[in-house]
Symmetry: C2
Subunit: 167 residues, 2 copies
């Protein structure tokens, strides 16, 4: 089992958009080029973010993507759910009701203990992701990078930024 790598791409894209600043965005081509990934597939991830309301878009000559709300109000869980869906990791098929000694339906009002345990574990996972925002990620990256690298990246950003209309 493995989380789709689209989640990774989308998270990096959000972090980059956070660095772009409020109301400013990047085109799909710029996002794909910055991360060195194929544009058509990156498009799919960005569309998912748009559909989930995490980014806002503008079409046309100066179109592109920008964060729909401040970076400290977008969590990694939001991104994960947008791309990977919110379906539970563990899906109970109620095999306790099958077989020669299957439990009668009357005793199955509450979920199976195994399913309940997995649901609780998944909640712990989700809450951990909800505690990390895109702003946290962006701040961390800035802290780890050398001033030289930051200058280089900011220059690249400056020549690719686009102002999005005030929604």
């Amino acid at each position: 089992m493995r989380l789709g790598q689209g989640v990774e791409w989308a998270a990096h894209a959000c972090a980059l958009l956070a660095a772009a600043g409020e109301g400013r965005g990047l085109s799909l081509a710029a996002l794909a080029e910055y991360h060195g990934v194929p544009a058509p597939y990156m498009a799919k991830q960005m569309q998912a973010l748009s559909k989930a309301g995490l980014v806002r878009t503008s079409r046309g000559k100066t179109g592109g993507y920008a964060l729909a709300r401040p970076a400290d109000q977008i969590t990694l869980w939001d991104v994960t759910r947008a791309l990977n869906g919110s379906a539970p990791l563990f899906q109970c098929t109620e095999i306790r009701q099958q077989g020669p000694c299957g439990a009668p339906r009357a005793e199955c009002k509450r979920p199976c203990h195994i399913a309940a345990a997995f649901a609780q574990a998944e909640t712990a996972w989700r809450e951990a992701l909800q505690g990390v925002t895109i702003a946290d990620i962006a701040a961390g990256v800035g802290r780890d990078s050398s001033p030289q690298h930051i200058t280089e990246a900011m220059h690249w950003l400056g020549s690719n930024l686009t102002d999005l209309p005030n929604r």
Copy 2:
């Protein structure tokens, strides 16, 4: 993304073996029949449990499976890892090093912040599963079942149990 249903089957099988008692086991055919699942595929799950050392096996005329250690020393994480592997849910492909502004290797000694956040979330998930044992599951099932159902299941167990050699 979804956890394989083999995990569910294996967890139920372990709970049933816990009810069988110390040193007693069930054949593959019995395990499959009890849960109403195809035997050949159940075999695959049991083999994985055996390979991970969670159950011990005995071949021959009176062979079968039994728990390798007390049920309160086998956690749901053990079962999950045995069947699903211990590979991380989120696999970082280090795209921060790619593209025109790729981070130099010298700044990538520590893991990417996004990967670190997912690793932390996965730890929370793992620790939750480590806190639930097969004994907990078995006790919970017993608590939820009617005396009538328990009697029925115990009778079925009694006519299918097999004593495994003292390893």
